[in-house]
């Protein structure tokens, strides 16, 4: 192919931006789609930092130990090729970000500073105050702007992805998307497409996720034949501030910098994590901390003020150091709760935070099972297994973009016939299908309330599909999703406008969210073991004989079809997972 490869990237968070930079560098012309201006993507919510085993603190840290911590933290469910490459790429990635001008915190010698995070005993997390995600996305956004100014990248911000364009052979040849202003679907040709569209937190109603984390794009291509893997692995972060509109994350870095979790017991503070896990203390991995907080609150009835909350305390630490290292997080607590955490302990509770599961991609290129379609960042299932370690998400997003960007360009260069040479009929038909779908959705009538259905979904998913799972509850939850699928066509879209109609967009997203929700319920129902974030009191042990396997979900109109793909533990062999 003589002309420049045409790459479409959907999603302007860290993974999408990094993929755009790498693809541009490899000589491609990139169209970058995002439902919000890239600077406002959910990556901004990451607070604590990014992992890289640079070993600047004389602790004997190394990428191999980082790799081992990642696999062990993920309870051995992660496929090992990409996480190993990621751990080794970590130091280079942090140095690259440093060169891009990220204002990381520094040591007195002027080197990058590193702090502690959960699931490791090493100072491995580089950080920029406590708004690291924001700082990293700004740096990548700026680099993409440079490529944009040079004419290599065209941004389509405030556009909603609707579906992939598949040719007669089933290969991905472009996308259909619509601007959120006019809502008129358009088809775009591409030699390869990268989805970096984030996680599906909104399926749970309230979570720590941003409002655009619907998982809709992944759900849409899943309905078109893309395999969705490990859907049941949903991380519930131990420390968030519950809210009506969303739960607000209080970063793990708060504990990394010395914050302590406690509840009053017999009139005295009880530091239950430190007592039970003397080696890791408050820095046990998230799945374990969350379950422990649940036990203390729900089983022992020791929640602060009799409510579902525990203390997260930094009031014993030096206030000015705490402000310098954790300012951004403390500010959020102050603004939304009206109390100063350096003086009074914060009140927190676990909240849905991250999906380890996502679109299935291969171990080399982050390629989905649909030729020409790639998935990166939280949207794919790689790296984190059954539980993600803190500060590995920023790393996996950026590393992922570095993997799939060049891979997509290479794939495009190998195509016998580029998308530009295809007959326009396939694109016209794809666009017409989406126009028709919009018309159908707008014509819906009935007594159901679109937003009410979403609340019902969130309530049921939070109740049955989070920290403690029972088969009966999971069956109930899937039946609930099926019921919502049946009722959605009777939910009138309350907005009739042809400009900025957010209800139409949400109605379309709901359809895809329900498909993913059902895969989450079914995957969890069928996995009769406990592993990482997936915990069933009726099956309390990890079962490597039957379930050291990736859950592979394929879509069908009557619900997901599930089978399993064994996980080969090439480097790190399974061992019991203990942090005490």
């Amino acid at each position: 192919m003589a002309s420049a490869p045409q790459i479409v990237i959907v999603g302007g968070g860290l993974a999408g931006l990094m993929a755009a930079i790498k693809a541009s560098e490899a000589g491609a012309e990139v169209k970058l789609f995002s439902s919000v201006p890239c600077k406002r993507s959910h990556s901004v919510c990451a607070q604590g930092g990014i992992n890289a085993a640079v070993n600047t603190k004389g602790e004997g840290d190394s990428p191999e130990i980082h790799f081992d911590d990642t696999i062990y933290g993920g309870d051995f469910l992660a496929r090992q090729e990409l996480p190993r490459r990621m751990a080794h790429a970590g130091p280079g990635i942090v140095y690259l970000l440093d060169r891009m001008g990220v204002r990381f915190s520094r040591t007195p010698e002027g080197l990058l500073d590193f702090r502690r995070f959960g699931g490791t005993k090493h100072h491995r997390t580089a950080f920029a105050g406590a708004t690291t995600g924001q700082q990293l996305i700004y740096a990548l956004d700026e680099q993409v702007r440079r490529w944009e100014a040079g004419g290599h990248v065209v941004r389509y911000e405030n556009w909603e992805f609707l579906s992939a364009v598949l040719d007669g052979s089933g290969a991905c040849r472009g996308i259909v998307a619509m601007p959120l202003s006019t809502l008129r679907p358009e088809a775009f040709r591409a030699d390869a497409v990268i989805l970096a569209t984030g996680g599906p937190g909104l399926i749970f109603g309230r979570s720590t996720n941003s409002m655009n984390c619907t998982g809709s794009a992944a759900g849409s291509v899943h309905r078109q034949g893309a395999i969705y893997a490990n859907p049941e692995f949903i991380q519930v972060h131990p420390t968030a501030v519950p809210g009506e509109d969303k739960d607000r994350l209080i970063s793990e870095s708060v504990r990394g910098e010395g914050g302590r979790v406690w509840v009053p017991k017999d009139g005295k503070p009880w530091y239950f994590l430190e007592e039970k896990f003397p080696k890791y203390g408050n820095l046990v991995p998230r799945d374990i901390a969350t379950r422990e907080i649940f036990r203390v609150v729900h089983e022992l009835g020791l929640g602060v003020d009799g409510k579902a909350q525990v203390y997260l305390d930094v009031s014993h630490l030096d206030a000015s150091t705490t402000r310098r290292k954790l300012g951004g997080v403390l500010e959020i607590y102050e603004k939304f709760m009206g109390a100063d955490p350096t003086k009074v302990p914060m009140k927190v509770f676990p909240s849905v935070h991250y999906s380890m599961g996502g679109l299935w991609v291969d171990d080399a290129d982050e390629a989905t099972n649909i030729p020409g379609l790639y998935a990166s960042g939280e949207a794919n299932f790689q790296y984190h297994g059954a539980n993600r370690l803190g500060a590995n998400s920023l790393l996996s997003c950026i590393f992922g973009g570095m993997v799939c960007g060049p891979a997509a360009v290479k794939y495009a260069r190998g195509l016998a016939k580029g998308a530009a040479a295809l007959d326009s009929s396939v694109f016209d038909a794809a666009r017409a299908r989406e126009e028709e779908e919009n018309r159908k959705v707008l014509a819906r009538d009935g007594p159901e309330n679109l937003y009410g259905l979403h609340e019902e979904l969130g309530e049921s998913m939070r109740k049955h599909c989070t920290v403690v799972r029972y088969n009966r509850g999971l069956e109930e939850a899937e039946a609930k999703v099926a019921d919502l699928q049946a009722r959605l066509p009777r939910a009138r879209v309350p907005d009739r406008s042809d400009v900025g109609n957010q209800s139409l967009v949400f109605a379309r997203q709901m359809e895809n969210m329900l498909v993913i929700a059902r895969a989450i319920c079914r995957g969890a129902r069928l996995r009769d073991e406990s592993r990482g974030a997936h915990y069933k009191p009726d099956f309390p042990e990890r079962d490597d004989v039957n379930f050291l396997k990736t859950t592979m979900a394929r879509h069908s109109p009557d619900g997901p079809r599930i089978d399993y793909d064994p996980v080969e533990c090439t480097w790190v062999k399974p061992r019991p997972r203990k942090y005490d």
């Binding site: 891009m100 001008g101 002027g110």
Partner: protein, 249 residues
């Protein structure tokens, strides 16, 4: 359960260029409720206070933690992020209006793409050689890093642009946020290497000479970025830059 409610008085607009109109919505007050949660409740209702079924209000929001900048609007006359505007602290009715310095798309949703275009004009990036693994960036003291960090928290939300009297129909002033970004990049050891390109950009139309020193920007910034300091620094830098150019001629 409290039977207290919150009344939202919202300035609406159907489409770009159409005439604005006002509507009132009333929703139950929840504990620690912010303006976004109130808007969500009103959206579910899709009914005005006087019982008329209407199209739900359109607004922008994403992170709801005041780090993304999306939900910026005018709340009771003051431009700010709606997510961190707690209803209990606001006199009622709570008045919501779209920002006035950007074109309205619909209702509370405006088009702020000019802010990003301006970042492009002033080359607000570090021109790295490539993304290859060639080791760390320049060494830097923590104080210097922290100084940059403060400027680098700008969300491009547009609050400073909204309150700046110099941003108006008769001026092309790019606004305080973009100027402050120039200071950020010009102060970075690598960014400094091409500071003249950025200074050229801010000495052209819409640049630093359009600042009227009203100092509204620094008061409006939700991230407490010392914008006036940045503006003064940039004015000084660009004067020196101009002198240098003059002497070279």
């Amino acid at each position: 359960m409290s039977d207290r409610t919150v009344v939202l008085r919202i300035k609406r607009q159907e489409r770009p260029g159409s005439a604005p109109y006002w509507q009132e919505f009333e929703v139950p007050l929840q504990p620690a409720m912010n303006v976004i949660a109130a808007l969500q409740a009103a959206r579910k209702l899709a009914r005005t206070r006087d019982g008329k079924t209407v199209d739900p209000v359109t607004w922008e929001s994403n992170c709801l933690e005041e780090v993304c900048g999306a939900c910026t609007m005018i709340v009771n006359g003051k431009v700010r992020q709606a997510c961190s505007a707690l209803v209990e602290h606001l006199p009622q009715p709570v008045t919501l209006e779209p920002m006035t310095k950007f074109p309205v798309v619909r209702d509370l949703c405006v088009d702020r793409s000019s802010m990003f275009e301006n970042l492009k004009k002033v080359k607000a990036w570090i021109p790295i050689d490539g993304t290859y693994d060639i080791g760390p960036g320049p060494r830097m003291g923590d104080d210097e890093a922290q100084e940059g960090y403060i400027l680098s928290r700008c969300m491009s939300c547009g609050c400073c642009v909204e309150v700046c009297p110099q941003v108006n129909d008769r001026s092309d002033f790019m606004g305080p946020a973009v100027m402050s970004q120039v200071v950020l990049f010009n102060s970075h050891p690598t960014g400094r290497l091409n500071r003249h390109e950025r200074l050229d950009a801010v000495m052209g139309p819409g640049g630093i000479q359009d600042c009227g020193k009203a100092q509204n920007c620094v008061r409006a910034c939700p991230k407490e970025i010392p914008l006036t300091e940045s503006l003064v620094r940039l004015a000084r830098e660009s004067t020196l830059h101009a002198l240098r150019d003059l002497l070279r001629k």
